[in-house]
């Protein structure tokens, strides 16, 4: 079993046969359609959203085939699978020997982390060459937006460059030496490029540590997402690193264009039938838009659509049965509409990360300290 297989097992475990395997593919590649986005939150697995954006369908199917053949998952109905006992055991054994990416926050951080990494790698390269007295080099990032950002950040440093480089060094040392740092810092630092030394590729790290490249990929992302959370929480300790993604925080909410129109109408009107009529769309479409908006904006007020008491009732029913099947919940809370149930599950699900729960419940899993010494 390889790392990707193990990640897939976790996905099958969490969906528990409620969704087809395509849903997992869409989740990992980060397909931005409302079904995938809702599932990610409904099942508390938004951590994995868009964590393998470049995975091809054929690689995914190959990995699925592999775990089917090993009888780790079992077909329940057409293209819906559940974990077998053997599968459950294999996954937890696997994650005893390999680090579990417990810091992943795909939905929350994916886009930001990507940009942050590109900026960091190019800024480090730029500063490294500069302090060594060399102003010409071939940039490791060719994205014009990234280059523009680094150029202006570099110019802002002005004559203070040397001091700031030293501070960036201190911040990185502090970050990586922190006892909470989730993994071996090699997976981050060895990828950096600078004067007279070009960084390692994921493949080269994999060869060096004799692990597969999917493991390198997930451990790198795990670190990046940890870093994002860390500089969010302790931005006073990391002023330079924090400044490298500050502008991304303020970024406006970006909806699909149809959702955007609904969003604008909602400013003056909260009635779904009215909006539907105005937009000449089905009510269910407007409901999908509202769920998308609820997921994107932390300030979204659920109680405008579901009274507080009803919210509690729905949530209680969902927690009791440990089952998130709509039909059964509807039976338990007949006065709620399907839309109201979905909205509550999705927004509450945000805090109910099954991902981290799995890690804490299986405390025997590869602890971070062990990973660091490896």
């Amino acid at each position: 079993m390889n790392y990707l297989d193990a990640i897939l097992l976790m996905c099958f475990r969490i969906f528990n046969g409620d969704r087809s395997r395509s849903a997992i593919y869409h989740l990992l590649t980060g397909k931005k359609i409302s079904q995938t986005i809702q599932d990610a939150h409904l099942y508390g697995i938004s951590n994995l959203f868009q964590t393998m954006p470049a995975m091809s369908r054929s690689d995914f199917d190959k990995s699925c085939q592999n775990i089917i053949e090993q009888k780790l998952i079992l077909q329940k109905e057409d293209r819906h699978y559940i974990l077998t006992e053997k599968g459950d055991k294999s996954a937890s054994v696997f994650f005893k020997n390999h680090p579990f990416p417990r810091c992943l926050e795909g939905w929350k951080y994916h886009d930001r982390a990507q940009i942050f990494w590109k900026r960091l790698s190019l800024l480090v390269q730029t500063l490294s060459y500069t302090i060594h007295g060399e102003s010409r080099f071939y940039p490791v990032q060719r994205d014009p937006d990234i280059q523009r950002w680094v150029r202006s950040a570099f110019q802002e440093l002005g004559p203070d460059r040397k001091k700031k480089t030293l501070r960036l060094y201190d911040e990185l040392i502090q970050l990586c030496s922190d006892s909470r740092f989730p993994d071996n810092p090699d997976f981050l630092i060895q990828r950096l490029t600078g004067y007279e030394k070009i960084g390692w590729t994921a493949e080269q790290l994999a060869a060096h540590f004799q692990i597969d490249s999917a493991e390198v990929h997930f451990r790198f992302l795990n670190i990046l997402h940890y870093v994002m959370a860390e500089i969010d929480n302790a931005h006073k300790r990391y002023p330079i690193l924090h400044s490298m993604q500050q502008d991304l925080l303020k970024k406006q909410l970006i909806f699909t264009s149809s959702t955007e129109k609904t969003f604008q109408l909602m400013a003056s009107c909260r009635s779904i039938p009215k909006i539907a009529k105005e937009r000449k769309l089905k009510e269910s479409t407007i409901e999908d838009h509202i769920i998308e908006i609820a997921l994107m904006s932390p300030a979204f007020a659920v109680e405008e659509f579901v009274p507080q008491t009803l919210q509690e009732k729905i949530w209680k029913a969902a927690s009791n049965s440990n089952n998130k099947k709509m039909r059964e919940l509807k039976q338990a809370v007949p006065e709620a509409s399907f839309f109201q149930i979905r909205l509550v599950l999705v927004t509450r699900g945000r805090e109910d990360g099954k991902w981290k729960k799995y890690y804490t419940e299986n405390s025997v899993l590869h602890p971070s300290e062990k990973a660091r010494k490896k």
Binding site: A54, V124, L127, S128, I131, H132, R136, F137, Y138, P139, V140, Q141, R142, P144, D145, T165, L166, L168, Y169, L172, I173, C176, N184, P185, D186, L188, I189, Q190, L192, T193, G194, Y195, E196, K197, I198, G199, W200, T201, A202, E203, Q204, A207, H208
Partner: protein, 447 residues
């Protein structure tokens, strides 16, 4: 026609500065284009833009709007025929029109990049500026293809010899596939690096690179179009920076890589033509120092390439089907599926549909395709002859480019007598130089 590394880009960059003119450069490969742009930027020139399908939409709109302001405009042939690009170009004053790697007009023209065939038209629309076609390798036939496609009447031609006396030519006869791998393994340790090993299969390049990197005390990495941009840049930079001993690559690697000290080029598979071969070995020894080309030849290797050529060819039935289905739908995917043709074949037929108005369209296209196949088979035969004939290999190379005279140094080829030990090394290679992350970070950011 100038050998690799002898200053082709100077031929269009210098006139731009001397005469202060705007230059348009058509470049066939995306990675090559990016490398060229990076090199121009590296020497401090900022007035340069690359227009290709990878440019983000926002950037593209902006670039097209300000196109007049760029000194050097690099463009892919596909972009060149888009209406909005044509419109933006009309606002420019292009005084020099450059077609880089011009042999692609012939080599890849009808087969892969139909848009390359339209360059003559584009040139006219630009007001027929002075035109410069550049290549490192082109036979007489290809040079005449270039003249025709670019509508050049009696152009001045500067043709330099393809002979590179400092590159020794060696063909190693192999008995089995297994032996090929064993010998390659041995060469990795004994033959002078840095070097490139060319494969025709991306999968094999990956697998062997991973295996040999692990088992030999050598730094080996693979490079092909399947890698993401960041990894590709890193591998290329590592190679330039002498952190790698060997690159296992498909032909995607090398065109834009300016590395002086490549000592060895090995072909694991036989290239499909003498032009590709000469182009690829030409990446060795740019510094003029002693270098070597080694072709690993297993009897029957040419059949694999030959079969691929047959597969690419279109049958008359497929052409008929295409024509029929096109009348029902314009959906590319549907046409491909129903006619049983590949994406490349679709593009070729689509090109002929637009630009070939023969009465018997189907038969005519079929004839053109068959001619093309025969030509490519002849090229393959010539390459096979190079690998198998007991004639001086240098003579075969230059004669295939219609040259007669050549000079050679002490090391000519294995037929004339060559000892591979003269190209061996005691060197331990680049070494992995693994450091702790703390040391690494200190080396990056502390002086």
């Amino acid at each position: 026609m100038l050998p690799t590394g002898s200053g082709k880009s100077l031929c269009y960059q210098m006139p731009s500065y001397l005469l202060n003119i705007q230059v348009l450069i058509v470049s066939p490969l995306l990675s090559l284009m990016q490398d060229q742009v990076e090199q121009i930027k590296y020497r401090g020139e900022k007035s340069v833009i690359a227009l290709n399908s990878f440019l983000p939409y926002k950037e593209k709109v902006q670039a097209l709007h300000n196109l007049r302001q760029f000194r050097f405009i690099f463009i892919s042939p596909e972009m060149l025929v888009l209406p909005e690009v044509k419109k933006a170009l009309a606002s420019c004053l292009i005084r020099l029109f450059v077609v880089d790697e011009a042999h692609c007009i012939s080599q890849w023209g009808p087969d892969f990049r139909p848009d390359y065939m339209l360059l003559g038209e584009v040139k006219k629309q630009l007001g027929s500026p002075v035109t410069l076609a550049l290549t490192a390798t082109a036979t007489q036939k290809i040079r005449s293809d270039i003249r025709t496609a670019l509508k050049l009447s009696s152009p001045a031609e500067w043709v330099y010899s393809v002979n590179r006396p400092n590159i020794a030519l060696n063909v190693k006869q192999i008995d089995s596939f297994q032996q090929k791998i064993e010998i390659l393994k041995e060469y990795m340790r004994t033959i002078s690096s840095p070097g490139i090993v060319y494969f025709s299969s991306k999968r094999l390049a990956d697998e062997l690179a991973a295996e040999m990197h692990q088992h030999l005390d050598r730094q080996i990495a693979s490079y092909h179009a399947g890698l993401d941009t960041e990894q590709r840049i890193l591998i290329q930079q590592q190679f330039l920076n002498d952190q790698l001993d060997w690159i296992f690559a498909t032909s995607a690697f090398g065109m834009g890589v300016n590395k002086e000290n490549i000592r060895t080029v090995i072909h694991f598979h036989m290239p499909s033509s003498m032009e590709s071969f000469v182009q690829e070995i030409g990446r060795a020894g740019r510094d003029g120092k002693k270098s070597v080309s080694i072709l690993l030849y297993l009897k029957g290797d040419e059949k694999i390439t030959g079969n691929l050529l047959e597969l690419e060819n279109l049958s008359l039935r497929q052409i008929n089907e295409y024509k029929k289905i096109r009348q029902e739908t314009v959906n590319q995917k549907v046409v491909e599926e129903k006619a049983g043709i590949s994406e490349i074949q679709y593009r070729v037929l689509n090109y002929f549909e637009k630009h070939e108005n023969h009465k018997n369209w189907e038969e005519n296209v079929f004839r053109l395709m068959s001619d093309r196949l025969r030509e490519r088979k002849e090229q393959l035969t010539q390459m096979t002859f190079y690998a198998t004939s007991p004639t001086c290999r240098r003579r075969l190379v230059i004669e295939s480019f219609n040259e007669r005279e050549f000079s050679s140094k002490a090391h000519c080829c294995d037929v004339c007598g060559l000892n591979l030990e003269d190209f061996s090394t005691e060197d331990k290679g680049a070494g992995s130089a693994a450091q702790s992350w703390e040391k690494r970070l200190a080396r990056l950011l502390l002086v």
